[in-house]
Subunit: 434 residues, 2 copies
């Protein structure tokens, strides 16, 4: 049976993985689809020196993406260049040429997924973006198909492999963030500028996409509160363990009676919850549905081949839809305009909190801090202190009962003016058993 | 836009959950699909006294499934009666009437899925069976769509919630299987005849379906080695913990250089592996792909609403395909006729093993057992013994290095003749870090 033809723009990490799988796994793909997927064109800057697997047959090699997008035989364009500038042009041009599009681009889809999807529907083509979030976890497939009959009420994710690697290594070895980060950079696991990973921006773009899929709203990164992991230290793991918890960079989207709360921030989670078992560079997503209760998805967050599987699986899905003449009809971002998902500021959330202090020891410290908490109507739960030899840099932890983030921020602000504090208190929410 | 119409046969646990979701979640379903799903007919024996949610509008209530299957307005028949007799008739009749079919029937699909799928393709209708395995985990969607570009090399599952509940309660409380089972029966978690659950037959049917989907072969329950959990005792958990492991009823399907090994059996798994965190009545599936590496899926194994989500999500998928005129074209059971998946007897598998003995203490026991192992060319790894007061029923454990199951069975057979043994040795494979 006649092939569906693919053009690949971008032969970096993900593009190379995609090409390898399309070449090596071609006969299985053809058996599953009932027809072959054929690569007709590839584009990258250094394409001239690029070895293309000979089993793929004649493939146009070009450094100009316009030649792929306008190629008369190409049915699907895989946009694998990333970023929000050229990638947007490539996708727009592909849609204008009535080509279907598969993309691995989280920044662009987080920022403009809603509009791109609308253009795809108007043009009568197909669009897929499984690889844009958590490469090795088919979470788009799960949310769009697998549990589409459910109503999602909460979604929690660990969506940045680098920060999860750093946190779990700090936890395992007791080393500081700086030490683990430097090592990760040396090994190539972390970028020279680590901000996107450790300040939570990468995770935030991914949460914007997943929350949009789960709740059917237009959610962009700017709608999401973000706090990175820079202030987490090994002693925080010691205290968290005392409390039966661990610390992860948690991407959370949950419906409350008052609205939808979205955040990316380090949080304490119970050690017994399955999210706590996510270690190293893995990603995971935990979903709570009104009917299906809790389900959990786990896999590689990145990597040429895991992300390549997501791209190839999308190519197969789109090829099937092209073959059956079934273009996109409903945007995944637009479903429940039911008015249920009014966004709510994170300051309105109610949680128990972990407050960690570093102080110069002197009498009256607990009294002063407890006084401020009482003033803000926050109930103190426990005071924890690990044995410590120095008096001039003494860490300890206060946990408080469920209260509003608003009250905690007010308390932290007032506390920060106390002269015995060496730095402002670190406040982390304690997430409920997931 | 015009609705796609559904007829439901069977209003037990799963049917009730399905009906509730279709009624309560109707507006969200319509927004996601772009058209409504409408229930036109329901069938069950006691249907006369059955309250149907009024929001569903006019619904034919009948005790005769033939009226649903032949109903001129019904587009999709949901077969939710279970078993292999009437259910097979219902599905056959639906296909004969050119109705698409959604089924939650594991026994039937495990036994005849391959043939039913072929008939569906010939008839040009759609078929879906997400709810047949691990109701709360969209594992069909994952294997058929989400990671379809990968080549699965291994799949391990915990697929029977009742036996997992029993094992994890034994582990947590130290109670015997009999005690926990009796309690589970009292609470309605386990059947009066627990054999399907604790002897592994229910899990085997589910593995037959998942292995067929993962490897594209016709696999029936009879192809799968099965051993239940009746011989596991609290002391086995003590020894497993000493070894850094726990014990679960593991459904395994893995490709080796020599062929595909399929089994359902209690096994030791490392406590650090994510499968070990699956407790209570949850199910989980761990998949290893040649390209995507490992991914893991977890959720409720059963229950009216989680399984109802699977049925409703299937109805939505099939409705979408009906609307776009896209019948089934390729059976999920038939993809890689590439000759890679020759089944291999479980006796050919190579693993480390855990051997647990109960003996009447006397000198020379270890020498006798070690002698038999040496005779079969099996290397002893460690001897473990928990403190024990009685001399006439002394438990202990020998672990051995990687060897063939064949050799272990020979050794166990020879050992069973020794007169100091109170019962034949219990041999459990030690699964590799997953």
């Amino acid at each position: 049976m006649e092939a569906v033809n693919v053009g690949i723009v971008g032969l970096g990490n993900v593009g190379s993985g995609t090409l390898t799988i399309l070449a090596e796994n071609a006969s299985r793909i053809a058996l599953k689809l009932g027809f072959p997927l054929s690569v007709k064109a590839v584009c990258s800057r250094g394409v001239a020196n690029r070895e293309i697997p000979s089993s793929l047959g004649a493939v146009l090699k070009t450094a100009d993406w316009r030649e792929v997008v306008s190629h008369p035989e190409v049915d699907i364009v895989a946009e694998l260049v990333g970023g929000t500038t050229t990638a947007a042009e490539i996708i727009d041009a592909a849609i204008a040429h009535k080509k279907s599009v598969v993309t691995a681009n989280k920044e662009l889809m987080a920022l403009s997924g809603c509009e791109i999807w609308e253009r795809a529907i108007s043009a009568g083509i197909n669009l897929a973006m499984e690889a844009s979030v958590a490469g090795g976890i088919p979470i788009h497939s799960v949310l769009r198909e697998g549990i589409s009959g459910d109503r999602v009420v909460a979604l929690y994710g660990i969506l940045n492999g680098t920060s999860n690697y750093i946190l779990t290594e700090m936890e395992r070895r007791g080393d500081s963030l700086g030490t683990v980060l430097a090592e990760a950079q040396r090994l190539g696991y972390a970028e020279a500028d680590p901000s996107a990973d450790i300040d939570g921006f990468d995770a935030r773009a991914k949460l914007a996409i997943l929350a949009a899929l789960a709740f059917g709203e237009k959610i962009t990164p700017a709608d999401i509160f973000v706090e990175g992991i820079r202030r987490i230290s090994p002693m925080d793991f010691q205290y968290a363990h005392q409390l039966g918890h661990t610390i992860r960079l948690i991407c959370g989207a949950r419906q409350t009676a008052e609205g939808l709360i979205l955040s990316v921030r380090p949080a304490l989670i119970p050690s017994s919850t399955i999210l706590a078992s996510v270690k190293g560079a893995y990603n995971a997503v935990w979903v709570k549905g009104a009917y299906g209760e809790d389900s959990f998805y786990y896999g590689r967050g990145a990597g040429a081949r895991p992300t390549g599987v997501a791209v190839v699986s999308d190519l197969m899905r789109v090829a099937r839809e092209i073959r059956s003449g079934s273009p996109e009809r409903v945007s995944p971002f637009a479903h429940p305009r039911l008015g249920e998902y009014k966004p709510l500021a994170v300051t309105e959330q109610r949680r128990a909190y972990y407050l960690r202090f570093r102080v110069e020891d002197r009498p009256g410290i607990i009294a002063a801090l407890a006084g401020i908490l009482a003033e803000k109507h926050i109930s103190l739960e426990a005071v924890l202190q690990e044995p410590c030899e120095t008096k001039n840099d003494l860490p300890f932890v206060i946990t408080v009962e469920t209260t509003s983030e608003w009250a905690i921020r007010e308390a932290v602000k007032t506390m920060s003016e106390l002269d015995f504090l060496l730095e402002p208190p670190l406040a982390l929410p304690m997430e409920l058993p997931l």
